[in-house]
């Protein structure tokens, strides 16, 4: 199982902030496709991605137990 975290407008659009994917392994590109198909979350293309709380830029493959977070443009301060 891979855990997906959504925030702000993305969570609102998906109507949930946590999604558990029943996958043993999945590349980031595959996860994005799933989220677009199942939740219509096209805005994830504008989000930064963090895996296990560290920003990643490459299309790495996640395994069971990993957490992927989609981070929309930030607006703190």
């Amino acid at each position: 199982m891979i855990k997906v975290l959504l925030f702000a407008g993305l969570a609102e659009q998906a109507k949930t902030s946590v999604i558990e994917l029943d996958e043993k392994q999945a590349a980031i590109s595959k996860i994005k496709t799933l989220l677009k198909e199942q939740y219509d979350l096209h805005a994830i293309d504008n989000a930064m991605i963090a895996v296990n709380e560290a920003y990643v830029k490459e299309n790495i493959t996640l395994s069971t137990g990993d957490t992927i977070a989609f981070i929309p443009p930030v607006s703190g301060g």
Partner: protein, 157 residues
């Protein structure tokens, strides 16, 4: 004592200042980011902040490390509040101490600019006539390069 925190409670400025007090300091600057009522003619009723807390704390700590690397002897403490905030309340408080005042001013401004680039915190504006997540709107370009500029702290300008 954690110098970098996310809190749901009102921020007490004096508490943040105390975290950077030291005998070597000749100056302490503070920045208080507050909830503004009017933005371009539109009235805000209240704000709601959300954070990816463990990462937000890590990124605040990274900003603190960048400051100590860029300005010798400078030390920062930052607390950002989340949840629902009313007009006038403090959303973020930054304190920077340093041996001399110029560095304390510069480093403090650097901290708030970096918060707006890399710290996973989002602000929802609740207007009189609606609401919206800021930073998730088409008219903003929060990531002009397609990603937050994580390495900026390494360059010296």
């Amino acid at each position: 004592m954690n110098r970098f925190q996310i809190t749901t409670q009102p921020i007490i400025v004096e508490d943040i200042v105390k975290k950077v007090e030291k005998r070597e300091a000749g100056a302490i600057t503070t920045f208080i980011g507050t909830v503004r009522e009017w933005t371009a003619g539109r009235r805000t009723v209240r704000l709601e902040y959300e954070a990816y807390e463990p990462m937000a704390v890590q990124m605040l700590s990274q900003i603190g490390a960048e400051i100590s690397a860029k300005w010798e002897g400078a030390e920062a403490a930052i607390t950002h509040r989340v949840g629902v905030l009313d007009i006038g309340e403090a959303a973020v408080v930054i304190a920077v101490s340093s041996p001399h005042r110029k560095a304390a001013y510069e480093a403090n401004e650097y901290a708030i600019e970096r918060i707006k680039q890399i710290v996973p915190i989002w602000k929802k504006e609740i207007w009189e006539d609606g609401e919206e997540w800021i930073g998730d709107q088409l008219e903003t370009t929060a990531y002009p390069n397609g990603k937050p500029d994580l390495e900026k702290g390494d360059s010296h300008d």
